[in-house]
Amino acid sequence: MSNRLPQALANLDAWLQTMRQPGGYGGPVAHWWRDQFVYTGPGLDWRYEGILIGYSELWDKTHEVQWLARLKQAAEDLKSGQLSDGSYRMSRFEQNPGTLGTPHEAAASLGLLTAMERTGDLTLLATARANLDNLIHRLWDPTTHGFTDKPGVPGRVPNKLATFSQALCLLAHLTQDDQYLEYAKIAIDDVLRFQIDRGRFQGAVHQYAPDNQHGDHRLFPYYNARCINPLLTAAKVFSDPTYSQAAARIMDFLRQTMADDGSWPQIVYTSGRRVDYPRWLAGTADILYAFHRIGEPLPARALDRLLASQLPSGAFPTAIGFGRKTHRHAPLDPPDYRDLIPVVGWNDKVLRLLAARLPPATTLPPPNIQPYSRPARITAKDTVFTETIQMFQYGSDYTVSKSAPWAKGEILWG
């Protein structure tokens, strides 16, 4: 693993640089909730969490100036993409173009604050603070004394609140302003409120509480994993083991739901039903990062599965089995078009994980990336997926220039 990891990281970094365009990192998005294959311009969303934290790690460990340059460049994307109210332009990931993306803006600001600690650039602190202040202003619900997911809608999304809490904890530390800690505690306490306290799925956290009273009985291993690091931060900041115990119980759920091949199902319902597909590839990095942060060995099968999936371009594909989202018995081979597409907002998670696992003072080898083609399927139609340094292409139907904010050709449905 130690030999594989630096090369994987070097190739991933090289791929990420192919995804830059004026304004930031762009490209299509495949996701469980929705896809965005038409707008392919920059997204100032959670992709900046992994990018900024990943490059911060690389800078810390190597002190090679290229990582500091990457860090400054990415931080500048957020700074120059901030709107007058403090929100970030194009912050809704799969729902871009849009603003006030959750947890995207908080995640990006968390990355920005991490970068600020390395660069010493106080303008980054001001940018992140304006952003988080705006989120507090827009999402605070005085009636229920908590943060909603959308202005005017009472529901809570615990994993998003976890990310928000972590960003607020870091902001409080950097500004020495304790009012942010009050908000951070309220946000993270909503994670505890929707954690299952008994039974078969003890420890898992509901995805959503539409009425702010009851969980929706959907348990996503991926989103549960994203709660771990913020809970550990809360345990430290508030000197309260309740939060680390909650994190440990989520880990039980993650161990329980891991499949033999080192993947996780998309959704487990409290009824026992499951949605097995799509199973994340690049996104698995966030689950493995939870193991890393809590100090447990990474499941070897899961890490092997992730590293083995790396494409010749240096990127990691999104998933396996998107076709089964609508047709339970859809073939896995050739892959669905959404499976193969590498997405910056998933690959940033791999960058953060691999950078965290890189031994200190490791110089990365030169990247070795190449164009490639793979068979793929768009609904029932066979096609060929091609990626080069400049573009993604599905047969003659659809092309995305990596430097262009809009795709060309017929859209991938119908």
Partner: protein
Amino acid sequence: MQVSVIPASHPWPQMSRGAMEESWHRILDFVFADAMDHALQSLTIYWPRTELDIEGIALRSAFLPSTHSGATGALWIGNTLSDTLSGFSRIYWLHQKQAPRGFITTLTSVKEYAIWTHTSRWWGLGVRLADLIHATSLRDRCMSRSQAHFVATHASSAQFYLHIYNVQEVSHVQPLAASPR
């Protein structure tokens, strides 16, 4: 590409929530992608003063390179076309008629999108029914199918239709009278 919004006065449904909002976002994406693909120098949006997300237009205008192609486009939102569209080289017509008639037979390079198809709406009914009986996994299955059928690029019954016309060879656009669905 320069983008401008001109208020118009004809009626149009609100598209600010749920599937209507999703329809509006998809429509704007198709229009902007096509306009960029055809290197339009300008895009004029005739906006019927209803609740449409104007911020979505501003955001989509943020990363557009300037071009000097001379080609101009217009997005017309309404069930009856206006002759104010004369002179545009590319017309995007968002309407609610499945089979508009009239001048389109003289135009070329047509693309069609059916948005929020009736198939999608049926699955959306399933989502509501599943909500009523608190069947969460059934709800997710219906939602996935509703999303998968949200847009069609072939003839399909839908809430909205986006027709894209290349009118470079046409000197004058005739007004189209409203026709029964």
